[in-house]
Subunit: 112 residues, 2 copies
């Protein structure tokens, strides 16, 4: 079994630091579109104390994917359903991995 590297939580790619104007520039989407996709629960920017949205590079990448799907005629609602399924899958995998880890800890091959 192959273990992936744990995603570095301090990773730059996930840091929410980009303003909507720049996101618009990077993606080619209008600010209206970007805010609308948030309304449809497809992206989740953070906010500054003052209330301005801040996105990560991962968000930017996802926005591009979303835009592509929409261009292919997929509705935001469907995209959202896909996302939920994806998330569930990942959760299940994580769960399985955890169980596996516990089994290994008790009965598995010792690595030391």
């Amino acid at each position: 079994m192959v273990y992936e590297l744990a995603a570095d939580p301090s990773s730059f790619k996930e840091k929410k630091v980009i303003t909507i104007g720049i996101v618009s520039e990077l993606t080619g989407l209008s600010e209206r579109q970007i805010r609308y996709y948030e309304e449809r629960k497809l992206v989740f920017p953070e906010r500054t104390p003052g209330g301005s949205r801040r996105y990560s590079f991962v968000d930017v990448e996802q926005l591009v994917e979303i835009a592509n799907k929409i261009e292919d005629g997929v509705q935001t609602y469907e995209i959202r359903q896909e996302m939920i399924k994806e998330k569930k899958k990942h959760k299940d995998e994580a769960h399985k991995k955890m169980i596996q880890g516990q089994l290994n800890a008790r009965f598995g091959v010792r690595k030391y």
Copy 2:
């Protein structure tokens, strides 16, 4: 001889996308300090069409280093000199590497 991988130019780490407010938050430096270090030619943010500064994660890292040196009593002027020397060194290395490449191309061991 070991060749490094060419730095991905589309790398997010080098993309200038962060506003000064966020940089201030990330580094703990005041906006005044950040602008001053630019005045002393230690950082080089890009500008939006409207004139707002945009920094990269690399810039952020460098700002932290700069701040540390200053805290150690090093003056911006000296820091700048170090930077210039560093840059020259890299340029020389690149130059040497290029020459080496040309020599290899003519007289070196063929790789095919």
